[in-house]
Structure formats: structure tokens, C-alpha cells
Amino acid sequence: MSSLDDLESQSIYILREAYRHVGKLAMLWSVGKDSGVLMALARKAFLGRVPFPVVHIDTSYKLPEMIAFRDAKAREWGLDLVVGRNEAALAAGMNHTMGRVTCCAALKSEGLSQTLAQYGFTGVIAGIRRDEEATRAKERVFSPRGADARWHYEDQPPEFWDLFNTDFPEGTSLRIHPLLDWTEIDVWRYVRREEIPVVDLYFAKQGRRYRSLGCAPCTGTVLSTATTIDEIIAELETTSISERAGRAQDQEAEDAFERLRADGYL
């Protein structure tokens, strides 16, 4: 039995626990490779369908290829797609020149919490992984957010033996993380094995490619010659550059990402 089989079964188990226990459930879809894997896992878990809405938080600054891909796949897979935007902040002209972290907090974190509130979602499935970043490494699979939407990371509930916490007081918003134990290479190996479609931006053009996708102004490319999934996997086997190196908002300060996450960023 391979590691991918283990990861797949574990993630499916988690998705099914979420579907069983969360009153009003949705799944976040950033259109990146991780949420593509999540989508494929959900379709397996629920026998060929995604039985809950799929939420995309649109900052209006996303790379245009991502939006085209999103709309095409939503139709193809018959998804119940919810697109959420922080319209008030956008109307007020929010953009990255007002501070990258400020912009992320407004358009992503606040955009997400507005959308959850608007539709009354009590739990959202998100494709974050421990290997991406040090505070994500400490996450729980079933991770509660209080009524203030904040992550109380200093006092997380215990979680062991797959006996997940599914009982929470009224008003708790739950984040469910089925991919927590996956690594970037696992994701690509699974994309290859399951033939999961991904946005073309991940493949190198003129010697550069996107390793992580986000908003156009804050997401950079890395040097790469990888034009196929096999080549991406080979590249990751030897790279010394971290996955989020191209994400400018993380580099603003040592604790930029932790503060973003405490305030509700994924």
C-alpha cells in the first residue's frame, strides 16, 4: 500500500466526518492544485458528486487564467459555486499598495468571513497543508474559530486517534483541513496518478513558472524548466526554495503570516 493510498483514505475519512457532523458545510476552492486535489477527493468520498456548495473568494486581482479555469470546471463538474467578494472594500479601492497584509486581511480574510456569514455556513473545508508554513504545521484537522472568527492557536483542543472534535457550541465556525498531512510532492504525485486537471500557470514558460497561485500583484514565479507534472515532481525532489517564496505578503514581517492566520486567513 502506498503513501498516497493512505493519505487518500485519511482525507476521505475526514471529508465524510465533516459531511456527517457539520450542519451547513461548504468547501473552499482557490482553484490551485491543492483545492483541485480536494475536489477530486470529495468526488470520491461522495461517490461522484460534491454534495455541498463550493466557495471561491474572489479578490478581483486573481490571475485571469484562474477565473477562466474556475468557471469552466464548475460547469463541467456541476458544482454549486458561490463566489464571495468583499464589495465594500473593493468599492473603497482596496489594493496591495495600501499594504499587502492589509489587502489580504480585507479581501481574503474579511471576504471569507462575510461570505460565510451571508450564507450561514457553519463549517468550511480548506486545503491547507502542514508543510507549507510553520503555523499551519500546528493546525488541527477540525479547527474551531470563535464567534469573532479568530484562531485561538494558543489553546487548541486536543485531537488524536482520528476521534475528531465535532461537538462545538452554537456560533462556532469550523475549519476542516483534510490535506493537513500532505506535502507539496504528495499533491503533485496525486495530481499525476488521478489525472487531475490543473491551471496551466503551474507549467514553465520562458524559464519561469508559478509554484503557488494567488493574486497577480503579489504572486511571483520561480525559475523553472518544468513543463510536465513529471518534471515538476523531479524539480521538487531537489529544490531548495520554499513553496510560498513567491507570495509577497508572507515576507512583510516575521510574523506576517501568523497574524493573518490568527485573524482568519487560511
Binding site: 487518500e8 468520498a45 502542514r130 486517534w161 501568523e258
Partner: protein
């Protein structure tokens, strides 16, 4: 040239680093990651910068201590996990906090490990959390322990200092029944004996920590044990019923003879849905699957599909070792929710057999377990629980306890299904008169004729008719009617599933006593649960006769002598058998009376004839 193993395709070996606060767990973890080349230089530089901002040269711990407060206070608060590779295989390394207050986080991390590295500061020796962590590793079922005696640089790499700590921890672990795989001296900050040997300790000839880890065997997948498939959910998206679950041990194969617990119904798997492997081999342990049963059956979350000839019992109580991290102590008599596999059961602490002091490992009496404490208890449930001892099946032998919304403890089961406290010390008295003596005197044996069936099927009518017949024939007969018993013996019991079961248990216990006194007891009780009836048969197997008073629901509803069906249809009676609660038909009753196909007098005659054949010895003079 030998082929390199495909490291990324193999599952990572999970190890946990534990020990007392400040003994160097995170530093060791960071060092292991760095010395195996698992960290990109950019991340090492970020850690160096973060260290320098705090006036330090290089805090390896910052690789995992990702929170600002962790870095500022130089402690680990929460567990982190990260993958790395040696030349031999890939690992999942789990860093666990050492502070007592963060015990729940330590357990969160440690519980999924296959092996542990227990880090001890050579200068401080065994400290409080060194011992508690070692004790918990044992309870969590982590059998492989490596002791790394750290900070050897601080004692000038002195061999005697190492030997002294090694002696102490060996003795402590021996008391727990744990034999460490290896004890070795290291200096994590310097990288001594982590991945490469240290020239500073020429007196140590053993392997490095990395080499010891690489030599640990992987625990085999749980295919060798009997099948356990706890049901996680039942789906029907419009194309038929699918039963959802994860194989916890054994294999699921189409057509195997299986049983569903706790109801003890036989089952066969009809199909493995969406299964891409070889269907002949079946789905192995660890797989999340969807199946259909052939024929389909009513099942629910928490039921366990198991091998027919090696099924777990449904038990009322368990003896368990519990570790507690609730802010309020665990108390004798308190009720918690026990979660195991996909089931949840309400349990009451009926005995605290001992409370163990992690420091001395002395077990003492007590009526409460304090926060961070460990104890042995009996937990009893009003519902049948499908649980096993941890030794016979770890997946069904471990649990967490909830108080309200909080997870307050966890534990492992040492015995599933023990005699309740007190009963174990009772010895049934046996008198001088044997049952056959009474039978010879009365002309018939004692018997429990258990009439089960829907409301309105005719149970009471038949029972009272047969009672008169038997008395006319000179026999000792008596009717125990479920409704009547509720006025006395079962007064105070309601109609929840648990209370119904308890009511039936009492009726059964009373009937058994009557039968033992030589009486032919006619019990008229709906008793819809197959398991409840089986439980009564088990308490008086020599006397028990299951008589199925059988009439279709429509017939009973049309009769409706007490207008109960009308009221149930209007929703005035919740969980009414046949309408909103199931009736589990007897599978092999001793006698079936068809009250729809013939009149009640004929049915009564049939039962009298049965008694003549099975219970009566001779005609009274």
C-alpha cells in the same frame, strides 16, 4: 548498482520527540531536519534571522516553534509535525510540548507515533514531565522508545554523568514494563551523535540517533486481525443505499460471512463501490470504502461489521486506563460521552480502581483523577457498546471522553465487558431443592414463554387464555404483562430506548425467578429489540421459549384496541414500535403464532399444545 528505494512513495514513519520542558526537544528536531538536508537554505536563513533578532546565534527550535509567543518565550506550546528523509526512509517527525499545561497538545502529537525519542537533559536528569511522558507513551501504545541523553556538551561529555541518567531512566522504564530500544548520549545544539558521530565522546561506540531510528521496524498493517469495519455513515444520493466506513482491521471481501454488532445480525457484502483494486483480494485495513450489503439491511453509524466467527461482543462496561486533562477532575459517579471508532456512548464512572502517581508509579485509592492524572476505572453504559481490549484490537480499544463540548481525557481498554462492581464478589447461593425436584412435584418444568410482537398482535389475549387453560389442567401458570410491570417493578422508567431495554431486563429477571420457582410464566411484552430478548435468553437459557405472536402491521393497526396507533400516527406517541421505532422480528423463535391467519382461540390452543409437548411431564392426578 542497487536501486534506491522510492522514498516518497513509502508511507512516512511517524516518530515523536518528547521530554521535560527545556531538555532540548525542539532543538533536537530542528537539528535532525537540518543535518539530513531536509530544510531549504532559505528557511535556515529565516530562522537565523529570527534568532539574531532575539539576541541568539542559532535557535534550531524556531524551525518548529512557529508561533511568536513560542519564540519570544523560548518554549513549545503546540505540537508540530514535519516530514524529513534519511538516506534510508522518510519520516514524519512530531515535536511535542513539554510543559504540564500543554499536556493535551503533547498527546495530540504523540498519539499518532510509532516510536518515541525521550529527551533528557543530562544535567537535570529525570524531571516531572520526563516521567509523565514516558508513562503516557506506554498508555498510548507506543512500544518503541529511544532515550537521548542531551546537552552532553554542558557536562564536558562526561561518561559518568551519562551513565547515571541512563541507570535512572532504565529503572523507571522497567517499572512500566518498557525496555528502551537504545540509550545514547547526544548534544543536539552541536549536532553530536545526531546524524554524525561525535569525536568528543570517544567512549561511546554505538550508533547515531539517525542510525537507531533507521533500524526501527515498521509496524505491520492490521490485515492479520479479524475484520472490523465501523460504519461511519449511510448514503443514499438517489441511487440506492451505500454503507460508508473505514476498514480498521482485516479485509472486506465480497461474499464473506459477516455479522453486524451490536445487533448480531448476519450480513454479506454485495459490492465494493468504486473499488479500483482487485475485488478478489478485497479492501485492506486503512481504506475508506463504500459497500452494499446483500441483502440490504438497516444499519447506523457506530455499528461494526465484523468477521462472523471472531466478532466483538456488545458490552455494557469496560475497564480502562484513562489519562485526564480536564480542568475539573474526573469524579466517581460522573457521566461523560465516550467516543470510540465511529460510535459514541454515554458512560458513567462506576469505580475508580486506582489513581497512579506518574512520579513514583505508586497506585493509590481515590475518588477523583486530577488534571494531568492517570487512573484505572470502570465505565458503564446503559447502551450496548461495541468495544474491545486495546490488546486484541487497538482501533476498537481506545477512546476519548467528552464533558459537554470539551475533550477531557482519553484511554485504552484493558477489559471489555467485566462484571459490574459488586457483582463480581457475589456468589449465587444454591439450595437443597433442584429444579427437577419441583418439576417432579408439579408435573411440569418451570418455563418462560416470552410472547413478543407488535402492539395489537394479540399477546396479552393469548397469554391470559393460555393461563386459564393451564390452570384448568392443574399446572402452575402466571402472566407477567409488560404494562402491569411498568406500574411496579419498572415504575419510574420512561420510554427511551435505554429505559425500554432496562424495563425488558427487569421483566426478564422477574420471569426467570418465577420459572426457577417452578411456574410456567407467560410474558406479554412487545420487546422489539432482538438483543434485549437474546439477553434474557442468556440469563435463563433452560427456561426461555421465544413465542412470536405475528401479525402484519396493517392488521394490528386496523385492530388498534387501545387507539395507540391512531395517536402514534398523529405524532402523540414518539418512538412507537412499528410506526416510528423498529420491531426486530425473531429469527428463530421456538414457536410462531400467526394471529392474522387464524383466530386467537386457535392460537391459544397451539400454544397449549406446545406447552404439553415441551414443558409438561405428566397429567396431574
Amino acid at each position: 548498482m542497487t536501486a534506491m528505494p522510492d522514498l516518497a512513495a513509502a508511507r512516512p514513519f511517524p516518530i515523536v520527540i518528547v521530554g521535560h520542558v527545556d531538555h532540548g526537544k525542539s532543538t533536537l528536531t530542528g537539528r535532525l531536519l537540518h543535518d539530513t538536508g531536509s530544510i531549504p537554505p532559505s528557511r535556515v536563513e529565516a530562522v537565523r534571522a529570527a534568532s539574531e533578532r532575539r539576541g541568539k546565534t542559532m535557535e534550531w527550535a524556531f524551525l518548529l516553534d512557529g508561533f511568536q509567543t513560542e519564540r519570544d518565550r523560548a518554549i513549545t506550546i503546540d505540537t508540530a509535525r514535519i516530514r524529513f528523509r534519511s538516506r534510508r526512509r522518510s519520516y514524519m517527525i512530531i515535536d511535542a510540548p513539554g510543559h504540564k499545561e500543554f499536556l493535551k497538545n503533547m498527546i495530540t502529537g504523540a498519539a499518532s507515533a510509532q516510536a518515541a525519542v525521550l529527551v533528557i537533559d543530562v544535567a537535570e536528569g529525570l524531571a516531572e514531565q520526563t516521567k509523565r511522558h514516558a508513562h503516557l507513551l506506554h498508555l498510548l501504545g507506543i512500544g518503541r522508545v529511544i532515550v537521548a541523553v542531551n546537552k552532553m556538551d554542558a557536562v564536558g561529555y562526561d561518561r559518568a554523568a551519562f551513565d547515571s541518567v541512563a541507570r535512572d531512566i532504565r529503572a523507571y522504564l522497567a517499572d512500566l514494563g518498557v525496555a528502551p530500544d537504545k540509550l545514547l548520549p547526544i548534544a543536539a545544539r552541536e549536532g553530536a551523535n545526531i546524524v554524525s558521530r561525535s569525536a568528543a565522546m570517544p567512549w561511546y561506540n554505538g550508533p547515531t540517533l539517525m542510525a537507531v531510528l533507521d533500524d526501527l521496524p515498521e509496524s505491520a498493517a492490521d490485515d492479520s486481525r479479524p475484520l472490523r469495519l465501523p460504519i461511519q455513515d449511510v448514503y443514499d444520493f438517489g441511487d440506492g443505499q451505500s454503507i460508508i466506513g473505514r476498514v480498521e482491521s482485516g479485509r472486506v471481501r465480497i461474499g464473506d460471512d459477516l455479522i453486524i454488532q451490536p445487533s448480531s445480525r448476519p450480513a454479506k457484502v454485495g459490492s465494493l463501490q468504486g473499488w479500483r483494486g482487485n475485488p478478489g483480494e478485497g479492501a485492506p485495513a486503512g481504506r475508506s470504502i463504500a459497500i452494499t450489503l446483500d441483502p440490504p439491511q438497516q444499519v447506523q453509524r457506530g455499528d461494526v461489521v465484523a468477521t462472523l466467527d471472531a466478532a466483538p461482543a456488545a458490552v455494557k462496561n469496560v475497564r480502562a486506563t484513562v489519562f485526564w486533562f480536564g480542568e475539573q477532575p474526573l469524579r466517581l459517579g460522573a457521566t461523560y460521552t465516550l467516543k470510540a471508532h465511529t460510535a459514541r456512548y454515554p458512560v458513567t464512572v462506576t469505580a475508580i480502581e486506582d489513581v497512579v502517581d506518574s512520579d513514583t508509579l505508586v497506585a493509590a485509592k481515590g475518588d477523583a483523577i486530577p488534571q494531568a492524572g492517570i487512573g484505572r476505572l470502570l465505565l458503564e453504559s446503559s447502551e450496548p457498546m461495541v468495544l474491545e481490549s486495546f490488546a486484541s484490537n487497538p482501533q476498537l480499544g481506545r477512546f476519548v471522553l467528552l464533558s459537554g463540548y470539551q475533550t477531557v481525557g482519553g484511554g485504552t481498554i484493558t477489559d471489555a465487558g467485566v462484571a459490574p462492581a459488586g457483582v463480581a464478589n457475589l456468589f449465587p447461593k444454591v439450595g437443597q431443592v433442584a429444579p427437577q425436584d419441583r418439576a417432579a412435584l408439579f408435573g411440569h418444568r418451570g418455563a418462560v414463554l416470552w410472547l413478543t410482537g407488535l402492539s395489537g398482535a394479540g399477546k396479552s389475549t393469548i397469554a391470559y387464555e393460555v393461563e386459564r387453560h393451564l390452570l384448568d389442567a392443574g399446572m402452575h401458570a402466571y402472566v407477567l404483562d409488560g404494562d402491569n410491570i411498568r406500574r411496579g417493578l419498572s415504575a419510574g422508567l420512561g420510554f427511551s430506548a435505554a429505559e425500554r431495554s432496562e424495563h425488558i431486563r427487569r421483566v426478564g429477571a422477574a420471569a426467570g425467578l418465577f420459572a426457577d420457582a417452578g411456574v410456567v410464566v407467560l410474558v406479554a411484552a412487545i420487546s422489539p429489540s432482538r438483543q434485549d430478548r437474546a439477553g434474557i435468553r442468556a440469563t435463563c437459557p433452560d427456561y426461555f421459549h421465544e413465542i412470536f405472536v405475528d401479525a402484519p402491521l396493517e392488521v394490528c393497526e386496523a385492530r388498534d384496541p387501545k387507539q395507540l396507533y391512531q395517536r402514534a400516527r398523529r405524532g402523540e406517541i414518539p418512538e412507537f414500535t412499528g410506526i416510528s421505532a423498529p420491531f426486530e422480528r425473531p429469527e428463530t423463535p421456538e414457536l410462531r403464532l400467526d394471529t392474522a391467519g387464524q383466530n386467537l382461540a386457535a392460537c391459544a390452543d397451539e400454544l397449549v399444545a406446545y406447552v404439553d409437548g415441551q414443558v409438561r411431564l405428566y397429567e396431574a392426578a
